[in-house]
Assembly symmetry: C2
Homo-oligomer: 308 residues x 2
């Protein structure tokens, strides 16, 4: 059996990660700008990033997920409503020809979230199905997964199907407050180590009743002014408050879960592990990049003539 | 009795409001940049803004409050710890000579807030004592006041003394999310009227358990994507969620109050009136600019040879 050579990519808001794959092997990797940060049109970016591969292998099919399918992406791919499984994503994918090869874009998912609001994701659905493929225990029963990021997603997977999910702006709010607010301009010493600011912020959030986070944020500033907390420790404290508030409320909405599956890049996943532990939940981790590739293989397995 | 002519000013982070006063009369007003937005040094800004008054009246004493006394202001004025009354602010004020006249800066206040954290204010203390002067009923008994703004302050005044206060970053978070986040870039029609987005956001926040706000913010975006909510309505909805979360939690910390006193500019005060009503609290309003002037008169009454 001749294995297909293809490009697999997670093209998000702020970055593009492409892998050149043959079967389950990764031959090469390349990164580029996200759909919101790129200066050129998506097709021009894609062409210039992949031309070295095209020169060697000729036209290559590309499987993409993420914001590349959003209105601000390459070709808009409508959201698919939950419950969703890999086969339904496969059927709803959009395919078009670019430089003599087929580009396939996975749709995002929509749902009515546990708080009764419409909700959306793009890219995380692929990571979720990849995680299920990488951890067969997730294929049956009910599981709570969290995908930390700019917009953290909490998802319920039941018997391998995404039932619903909930978004939190945790990462975006953290970045806005860190980079653009008065919280980090209080004159704290920027050189000092962060020490255990994250743990302190987490413990502080946990010690307070639900809903306190809106009145705890300002102390990230006042502790620099009055208690000489160094700036970097204050920013870590902010991270602890925000991730703590996200985790505390999510565990309230979704109820107790045996083990929460964290799909993320390792440093951020570790913060969610700590917060989940603080609120009494066990967790295990799956790398987000591994999950993306595994998910694209699951969704497009038949196209690739692979194991799925 | 010859009444003193003087300059009274609230010099905040983003704007400077100066009034030329004689006794209780306001002869003229002028506005300028705040301490964080000015390009020139504070003394140069102050000189150029007031030179028309100096030309007519000669050197004039100036009474200032706000961020002008912060590390990033004109002359740093250390925080005074609560409980505080006008006389203690008067004693802790800093005075210096500028262009042949005395400039006096009111110190800010610090406290251990109701959530057990250090907290600070600069400028609001002057408005609070001005409000007490303008509403004699506030001079005795215990009162809850709220001063909405970039950093909203909730304060307890007991028998005319500021006992403690609590800061919320409500205004700053709203501005960051409105201007710099993905919430307002979802492609909603920017021309449509805001309709009753604020009321809807407030009702939505109120319908949920405490702590839900971190998971409600993303729906400001998803409702634009999936329910065609216009951008301006979505931003009003965001305002309702944030002010609702601020008010709901504050009423929880401070307990029921007979009538909450809102000191603010009228449009923002009205939002807090609506939110307070939604959570079962009555409120009345005092204009922030009036309160600032009245507060400076109360604090420096003896200097001015006035009625205090």
């Amino acid at each position: 059996v001749r294995e297909t050579t293809f490009i697999a990519g997670d093209w998000g808001t702020t970055s593009l990660r492409l892998a050149l794959c043959r079967g389950t092997k990764i031959l090469d990797r390349i990164t580029g700008p996200g759909v919101a940060t790129q200066l050129a049109a998506p097709q021009a970016n894609f062409r210039s990033l992949t031309k070295i591969w095209a020169a060697e292998y000729g036209p290559l099919p590309a499987l993409l997920c993420g914001m590349v399918g959003a209105r601000i992406g390459w070709v808009e791919t409508p959201y698919l409503a939950c419950p969703a499984e890999p086969q339904s994503l496969r059927r709803a994918a959009i395919h078009f020809t670019h430089e003599g090869a087929t580009v396939s874009i996975v749709p995002g998912l929509s749902c009515n979230n546990p708080l009764g609001a419409p909700d959306v994701m793009r890219g995380e659905e692929t990571q979720i199905f990849g995680a299920v493929a990488l951890s067969p225990a997730l294929a049956s029963g009910r599981h709570l997964l969290v995908l930390p990021g700019t917009h953290t997603k909490w998802a319920i997977v039941e018997n391998g199907t995404v039932q619903s999910f909930l978004s939190a702006m945790t990462g975006e709010i953290f970045a806005l407050l860190r980079d653009h607010s008065t919280l980090s301009k209080a004159g704290g010493n920027p050189q000092t180590r962060a020490a255990d600011g994250f743990r302190k912020g987490l413990a502080r959030l946990k010690s307070m009743p639900a809903g306190a986070v809106v009145h705890l944020l300002f102390e990230v500033r006042s502790r620099q002014l009055l208690e000489a907390v160094p700036e970097r420790e204050a920013i870590e404290y902010l991270s602890g408050l925000l991730i703590g508030a996200d985790v505390a409320a999510a565990l309230q909405w979704f109820g107790a879960a045996a083990t929460v599956v964290v799909i993320g890049e390792p440093a951020l996943a570790a913060r969610y592990n700590d917060a989940l532990t603080a609120f009494g939940a066990e967790s295990c981790n799956i790398d987000a990049a591994d999950a993306s590739l595994a998910g694209l293989r699951v969704i497009f397995g038949d196209v690739l003539g692979g194991e799925n």
